[in-house]
Amino acid sequence: MRPAFSLIVFTTLSGLGFGLAAILGLGLIMAPTPQWWVIYNGVALALIGAGVLSSTLHLGHPERAWRAMTQWRSSWLSREGVLAALTTIILLGFAAEGYAEGHGNLKIGIAVALLSLATIWSTAMIYASLKTVARWHHPLTPFVFVGYAISGGLVLAAALDALANGGISLLAQPALMGLISTAIVTMIWTKQAGAEGSGSTPESATGLGNLGEVRMLMPPHSEENWLQHEMGFVVARKHAAKLRLFSVTLAIILPAVMVYSAAASSAMLVLAAITHVIGVMVSRWLFFAEAKHTVMLYYGARH
């Protein structure tokens, strides 16, 4: 599948924003002043906003995007839209309510945390529910998304905490745990997801298997069409291996080392959050680039 920049930015930033929102909701970091409270919530809202804005860039008709809220009964994309809007509104209320004291109401906060999780889950389910893309259609896919969102949120929260409260953050340990668990889930997912293929073959796609192996002789048109452009993206194996190394190093290993070693340095934690985001973007690029769609069986793919 084509790694569209807008979708990489959308899933990474809004995931991180909702991850941070969940941590704020649970009251895991304290703001020393109302200004810091505004910054905490502002960072979460800005990330969510940037992500959602980027996702609308992907649309042919962004001005009708509100219609995407109507089919929550059947569509994960619609659920994602409804939950993202709802969570954002409640987060705004939570932030406003807690302004004076520098921390929010715990009950509203728990709602923010649960809704944030549900939003991240729905984003992942847009992909995980597609039977046509074996790589995505795996039970661990939503856990990978939630893992990155929560561990990223923890790293970011630790950085904000250290900046606001002078150096030390108690969230460094949980952030480390989050990164390690995410790494484990991602490793299993990378190995398993799509390993068995979609179950479809050129033979089943054409129904000509009884004649023997089916090969493409001529494509339907001389030049690449939208289907091939959108779903025919292939990445060389050696490039994928290199990029995976990059992504694990940037998203997990470096932030983990920095979070662990630098309990005292807020600059280091900020750097950890930045490398993490870049690493997640690389991993999202691979999430798309390595995914194969059954339609390509009609265009010469073997599986």
């Binding site: 995407a68 089919q71 619609s78 979609s198 004649l211």
Partner: protein, 248 residues
């Protein structure tokens, strides 16, 4: 609403005969011709006369080779939306633009609601949906809904454009929900099949397999074309003439 309707009794669709399709692309062209002026926005092209033309089409003809050696067959393979009974492209739509008609099972896109997110095309295993490059909305085969119920057309024209135009009658249109319809009988007779049955989409459209060869092409009966093409070396007078002329 993108909730699926209860399975309709009437299941309109196409039956495509892979035995006789000659890959002439007439259905592809007539489909575009009819639909670019009919249902919804025109089917646009990008760079139509340049060196990298592309555009949206509702029907494309692929060509495959199946089997090896003497038994290998070239099969032309027209493909448009199969109007699946369990169409995965419908429930994923966030706007309700993608829907399946309760009365006859035709799967359509309401282009005024479509936001062009492309998710329905991702969920279709067959590549039957294409984003229109100019309009930013999803395009797909309408089963020529604006022909088949259109009383202003002559009766013989009240069938899909691709079916009407096919010079070899490789495409048939009818009600596959009715076991006594011509198309259902054809499917039963010829062993019509589903594409990618393992995707559980329950396509309404069926494909008819290439017929078996009349004669098995084993080594005894096959003709050695290379041997036939060989001419005898000239001899006698002709050989002398040949050589003399060469020498001159």
């Amino acid at each position: 609403m993108t909730d699926m309707p209860a399975p309709s009794e009437k299941k309109l669709g196409l039956v495509i005969d892979l035995d006789i399709c000659v890959g002439c692309q007439a259905c592809v062209v007539n489909c575009k011709e009819w639909n670019t002026a009919g249902y919804g926005a025109p089917l646009s092209d990008v760079n139509a006369y340049g060196d990298n033309p592309s555009g949206s089409w509702l029907n494309r003809v692929h060509t495959f080779e199946a089997g090896k050696g003497a038994e290998a067959r070239v099969v032309h393979f027209p493909k448009s939306c199969l109007h699946c009974e369990d169409a995965p492209c419908v429930p994923v739509c966030p706007t309700g633009a993608s829907y399946k008609r309760a009365e006859d099972g035709i799967v359509l896109v309401n282009e005024d609601w479509c936001i062009g997110c492309g998710l329905c095309a991702w969920s279709c295993p067959y590549g039957a949906r294409e984003m229109d490059p100019a309009e930013g909305v999803m395009k797909k085969c309408t089963l020529c809904v604006d022909r088949i119920y259109n009383d202003t057309l002559d009766e013989e024209d009240q069938i899909p454009a691709c079916v009407r135009t096919c010079p070899t009658s490789a495409r048939h249109f009818g009600d596959l929900g009715d076991p006594n319809s011509d198309v259902s009988k054809l499917v039963a007779e010829r062993g019509g099949f589903d594409l990618m049955p393992e995707q559980n989409t329950k396509p309404v459209n069926k494909y008819l397999p290439p017929r078996p060869r009349r004669q098995a092409a084993d080594d005894d009966t096959s003709v050695d074309l290379v041997a036939l093409a060989k001419t005898d070396e000239p001899s006698g007078f002709w050989s002398w003439l040949d050589k003399t002329l060469d020498r001159l």
